[in-house]
């Protein structure tokens, strides 16, 4: 590894925190989904960094990262489909305007 492990972990921590801030603060559902993608990316970077520097079998981290990638794709697909359905019914994409359990 060219740069120390801790630096990468700090980087991914900051990335994760940024994503979390977005999830907590954004009103737009699509914005929240985007922030979730950021968090998933941070997790992926961690996986890669660990698999590259610790003694587990080297491909494990990458395989898990690929699983995360696939899950992220499904999240995006289903989440955005829900957003579109919501928009069609309620004409809004803002979380605090969707306060009914049923419509």
């Amino acid at each position: 590894m060219i740069i120390p492990l801790a630096h990468i972990l700090i980087f991914s921590l900051l990335l994760f925190a940024t994503g979390l801030y977005g999830v907590l603060v954004r009103r737009n559902i699509i914005g929240i989904l985007i922030s979730i993608e950021l968090m998933l990316n941070a997790a992926n970077i961690n996986l890669i960094a660990f698999s590259k520097s610790t003694s587990l079998s080297p491909e494990t981290g990458q395989i898990f990262a690929i699983f995360v990638l696939a899950i992220a794709a499904t999240t995006a697909a289903v989440g955005l489909a829900i957003v579109l359905a919501l928009y069609r019914v309620r004409k809004t994409v803002y979380t605090d305007e969707v306060h009914l359990l049923k419509w």
């Binding site: 630096h7 603060v25 737009n28 914005g31 985007i34 590259k52 610790t54 289903v78 955005l80």
Partner: protein, 169 residues
Amino acid sequence: MDMLSLIIKFGIYGTMALALIAAIAVVTLRNLFHSALCLAAVLIATAMIYAAFHADFLAAAQILLYVGAVMTLIIFAIMLTEQLGSKTIRQTNRQNLAALAGLLVFVVILGRVIFKTPWPVTEKALASKVTVMELGKAFMGPYVFPFEVISIILIAALLGAVVIAKKDR
């Protein structure tokens, strides 16, 4: 070749800085389309970091899946839902200061943990280089069950997305 590794090192740090700036832009920009584009920048920067860690396949898959497909989906959704002239709508809720404070504490604590922990870095792992073929064999060998489960999840998500997004007759 010492100079070369130095340049690569600075390249990685620069990429990280770029990714962080873009990530901050993603969560703070008012225009959602701009923040989606910044997300694309973050994703590409992340792919470059993967490539620097010799995870070539993952880097390419990241670009193909995220930048090629997921980003397109997100932008599509933004185009379908965003009103073009929505400048006055408040984009953040009222908990942003509280969230910022909480996250600061979170980052400080985790940062201390990261620096305090003695990570078991081994030379063997550092020297390892995973080829695509090894990855494929791992998928078809020990990880075949999760692989199949993932494929089922993908199909379920595909069908689910179609069913949810379809117009009611």
